[in-house]
């Protein structure tokens, strides 16, 4: 079945450093979504990318969708302690079912 691979599984950064998580699919996706789950919380939707090569920004967060629509990345500039949590990507093949990646756990040392 459709699989969405996400790396790294875990990253520990110093506050102020940058952070990137990557999402890869073996098949072309129609769209990709990103979610954030704070420790002890539930996943919360961040953004959706639909177009090939699309780049969207939310303050210090930059989201990219690859030209082939098979990969995506989330980059955080100058991490803060409020960025801690697990970041999930979720891709859809035909716009019907979302498949979630395993998530990247981000820890920030202050």
């Amino acid at each position: 079945g459709q699989q969405v691979m996400q790396i790294p599984q875990y990253q520990h950064v110093q506050e102020g450093e940058d952070f990137t998580t990557y999402c890869n699919s073996s098949t072309t996706l129609s769209n990709i979504q990103w979610y954030k789950q704070r420790p002890g919380g539930h996943p919360v939707f961040l953004i959706q990318l639909v177009k090939s090569g699309e780049v969207k920004k939310q303050k210090r967060l930059t989201f990219q969708f690859g030209e082939a629509k098979k990969n995506s990345s989330l980059h955080i500039t100058a991490t803060q302690t409020t960025d801690v949590g697990t970041y999930f990507c979720a891709g859809s093949l035909y716009g019907n079912k979302l498949v979630f990646g395993a998530g990247t756990i981000l820890r920030v040392k202050s």
């Binding site: 996400q6 979504q33 539930h42 996943p43 919360v44 716009g95 979630f100 395993a102």
Partner: protein, 114 residues
């Protein structure tokens, strides 16, 4: 403000017991989902429903069943709980089309089967 609520935050059950997890959403969403979350495995879809009384198996339906008698309510049933079903269970809902609309998650139920 969309709200998805789950009947319990924490639940402890014994092996062999029948377990009901309830989920209610208040935004008239067509789609509802049940996931389990385990460390290193992310969110795995158990079942989803795209309409009242309609359901489809997800990636890991074995040992589970679901019920959707009303649009706002989606129940997950463990017919005979086993220790390998100890996990965090998350319910979610969305509008159509389900793959292109954001999912709203409930707070989760942490189930321990002893």
């Amino acid at each position: 403000d969309v709200k998805v609520t789950q009947s319990s935050r924490y639940l402890v059950k014994r092996t062999g017991e029948k377990v009901f997890l309830e989920c209610v959403q208040d935004m008239d969403h067509e789609n509802m989902f049940w996931y389990r979350q385990d460390p290193g495995l992310g969110l795995r879809l158990i079942y989803f429903s795209y309409d009242v009384k309609m359901k489809e198996k997800g990636d890991i339906p074995e040992g589970y069943s679901v019920s959707r008698e009303k649009k706002e309510r989606f129940s997950l049933i463990l017919e005979s709980a086993s220790t390998n079903q100890t996990s965090m269970y998350l319910c979610a809902s969305s509008r159509n089309p389900s793959g292109r609309r954001e999912q709203y998650f409930g707070p989760g139920t942490r189930l321990t089967v002893t």
